[in-house]
Amino acid sequence: MTRVHDMGGRFGDGAVVPETEDVIFHADWHPRALAITLACGSLGLWNIDVSRHARECLSPKDYTRFSYYEKWMAALADLLVDTGAVSREELAQGAARGTSNLADKRLAAAAVAGVLAKGGPATRPSNVAALFVAGDTVRIRSIPENMQVPGGHTRLPAYAAGAEGTIVRQHGTHVLPDSNAHRLGEAPEPLYAVALRAQDIWAHPEHPEDEVILDLWQSYLIAL
């Protein structure tokens, strides 16, 4: 079983509503929510996989009723408390009790451009040898779960589990989210783009030639 965020292929959602390009945020507090989240990321208390997992760990009820940036704010509050950066009392009272000992890590306005431009690459050297090359046929693991941590983070969507696919591209060796989200190490391993035929994963594919391509780590794949 996966969590509420894993919705690829789900039925029941309505129309997609296009927007013009001048709409960037939908409420005054949205840009603030984005900026607070990015600024807190610079404190170095978590990595991108930990923060994704925090959003996924919202209860299904909250995940569904919250708008996009509400999910971000809720996960941020949870992470700040989990890492000890902010206390439950401070959240409840809406005021700080003293200055944090992490204040020297605060992202300064002058550093913003540099931090955003620098990014955070996910490629790492790895001693896990690549087992596949483009053109190889593979089977995706049939259980879309974190194999190490019960209920843990994974980037294997349920709709792809158990399907047969073809390697179309090797992306090098990347940090494994299933490990990194739980602070168990970056465990880098080969990452591939894997093409699935729409007719192999959907009962009513729109077109016989359609494909879905996902980026999947080597440990998600089985040689055929």
Binding site: I36, S59, H171
Partner: protein
């Protein structure tokens, strides 16, 4: 929980190997090893005000008072994504690719060095792949698990890209989703939907519209829409 805010976690693994039963016990200090699922009112976030605008305000106040964020830095981040980084960057890349076959070949082969040279590198665009639309294949990009998107080239994702409807439907019924954008593909064109499940970000190189021969890069840029670079639209015909 420990006094410094970390959890002491233990877990054990057991299994069988050729020599009999083995047990491996791992003990370590981690901020969070195991997911701690709570009912929704036990999450710390439920302590904040229920109105989202007040919730954000409360967090900003607490974090500013604690010295963890600088409101001026927030302004700078917002200015970056409202005014400096947006779909114009991607349109520049597409127009250049339409105009310069060598640039296009290099871009499709290995986008990262090509984009870095144009200054389009940064957060959420560290590992780029550009996929080309042709008469045979139409590419579309989605992130079914969250909202992964090539920020340095397209800016902040539009609301629909982050919506449940797009995330759930794009992989299963891309043509019906395209219909929501008023786009109909020729019957012979296959759709390839790229689900951004890792830190690789995808940009669609739309087909160059007919009747654009002789147009320069700046004129071509104006034909490249954000949606065409996600694969939910096509470039504008002049």
């Amino acid at each position: 929980m420990l006094r410094d805010g970390r959890y002491l976690c233990k877990f054990a693994k057991r299994g069988k190997c050729g020599f009999g039963l083995w047990t491996f016990v791992y003990v370590g200090f981690h901020d969070r090893v195991m997911p701690h699922d709570h009912s929704d009112h036990d999450h710390p976030h439920s302590l904040l005000p229920s109105d989202p605008a007040l919730r954000v305000k409360a967090l900003e106040t607490i974090l500013t008072q604690k010295g963890l964020i600088d409101p001026a830095a927030l302004d700078e981040i917002i200015d970056t994504y409202e005014n400096k980084i947006g779909p114009k960057n991607g349109a520049h890349v597409v127009a250049r690719a339409w105009s310069d076959p060598e640039f296009k070949a290099a871009l499709l082969e290995d986008a990262d060095p090509v984009l870095a040279e144009l200054g389009y590198y940064g957060r959420q665009g560290e590992h780029m792949v550009v996929v080309e639309n042709t008469e045979a294949v139409h590419n579309m990009v989605v992130c079914t698990l969250c909202s992964c998107y090539p920020w340095p080239l397209l800016g902040i994702p539009p609301g629909w890209y982050k919506s449940d409807a797009y995330r759930s439907r794009a992989v299963r019924e891309p043509r019906k989703v395209l219909a929501d954008f008023g786009v109909t593909l020729p019957e012979e064109q296959a759709v390839r939907v790229w689900d951004s499940t890792a830190e690789v970000r995808y940009l669609v190189l739309p087909q160059r519209p007919e009747g654009t021969e002789g147009m320069d890069e700046a004129a071509l840029m104006a034909l490249v829409t954000r949606d065409s670079m996600i694969g939910c639209g096509v470039a504008v015909s002049p």
